[in-house]
Symmetry: C2
Subunit: 145 residues, 2 copies
DNA sequence: TAAAAAATGTCATTCATTGTCCATATCTCC
DNA sequence: GGAGATATGGACAATGAATGACATTTTTTA
C-alpha cells in the first residue's frame, strides 16, 4: 500500500508535476477508500478533514492530472457524476450495477480473453484497456422481488 | 425498418404516451442515423430541418421517454454528453474507442457468454443488459503511428 | 365538435466541471 | 539554507448539458 503511494508520487514528479501537499492528500484519500468509487465532492470532503483550506477546483485539477498519468480511471455509473478508481497493473475489473437499488458489485474475474483476441485480430485494434458494466438485478433485490 | 418504426410508435402508445409529430420526428431521426451515436443537440438539429419550431427541451423529454420504454440506450463515450442508440432485440453490441483519434468502432460479436454465466451463478445476479467499451488504438492510428 | 388530459415551447435554473487571475508554494541550483 | 524561476492553489466567475416551471397548444376520445 505504501509502495503504491510512493510509486504514484514518483510518477507525478517524473512527469514534471510538483509534489504539493494537496496532491498527496488527494492521492491518499483515494488510496484509503479503494473500491468505493468516490466522486469529486466525496474526495473533496475527505481531504478537507485533514486539509480544510483546500479548494474544490484543486481537487478537480488533481484528478485531471492523476487521470492523465493513468493513476486513476474515470467511471460512469449513470448517476450524474464521474467516479474514480485506482488503476491496477492488470486489466480493470468489471462492475455489476443493480437496476433496482443502484448497488455496484465488483467482479475481479476477467474472462474477456476470447473477445479481446478476436478484436485484436479481426479489427486490428491494439487494446489498452476495457470497461464492462453489466446491468441487472442483485441478489438482494431478487429475493425481496 | 418501417416495421421497427411502427413497433416503436406502438410501444409509445401502449404505455399511455401520446403520439405527437415531435416524438415521431425524433424517433425517425434516430432510426435514419443508426450506428451514428447521436447526442441530443445533433438529434435536435436533424429534427429541426423538418420541424423548425421544435424546442430543445422537447427533444430531451422525448429521449427520456424512449429510454424509459427501452427503445434507446444511453451511451457515454467520455466526450461530455450522452449519446443514444436504438436498442436491438438481442444484446447490445460492443464499442472500440480509439484513444488517439476518438473513433468509435462497433463490434457485433457478443462473446460474453462465459462471463455472464459466471456472474449469474457466482453472484446470483440476474443480467438484463451489458455495456462493454474497449479502449485502445485503431488500425489507422497504428499505421500512421 | 368540445372537454379533459397531456405535451410543447419558452425561458429560467440547476449543478458538475472548467477558466481566470494573482498571491503563494515548490523545485532547482548554487 | 536561500534566491529565483515557474508551476500551483484558492477564490470566484463562467460554461454548458440537462432539467424545471408554466402558460399555451395539441391530442384523445367520447
Ligand atoms: Mn470498481
Ligand atoms: Mn453502437
Ligand atoms: Zn439491488
Ligand atoms: Zn484512431
Amino acid at each position: 500500500m505504501n509502495d503504491i503511494f510512493y510509486d504514484i508520487l514518483n510518477r507525478v514528479k517524473e512527469k514534471g508535476y510538483k509534489l504539493t501537499p494537496q496532491r498527496k492528500a488527494v492521492v491518499l484519500a483515494i488510496l484509503n477508500h479503494d473500491h468505493m468509487h468516490l466522486n469529486t465532492e466525496e474526495i473533496y470532503a475527505l481531504v478537507k478533514e485533514e486539509y480544510p483550506k483546500i479548494g474544490l477546483a484543486t481537487v478537480y485539477r488533481t484528478l485531471i492530472v492523476l487521470d492523465e498519468l493513468d493513476v486513476i480511471t474515470k467511471m460512469n455509473f449513470d448517476d450524474g457524476c464521474i467516479r474514480y478508481e485506482i488503476n491496477s497493473e492488470t486489466h480493470q475489473h468489471h462492475h455489476l450495477i443493480c437496476r433496482n437499488c443502484g448497488k455496484v458489485i465488483e467482479v475481479m474475474e476477467d474472462l474477456l480473453d476470447d473477445i479481446e483476441a478476436m478484436v485484436e485480430e479481426k479489427y486490428q485494434f491494439k487494446i489498452i484497456d476495457h470497461n464492462l458494466k453489466i446491468y441487472g438485478l442483485c441478489k438482494h433485490c431478487l429475493d425481496n422481488q
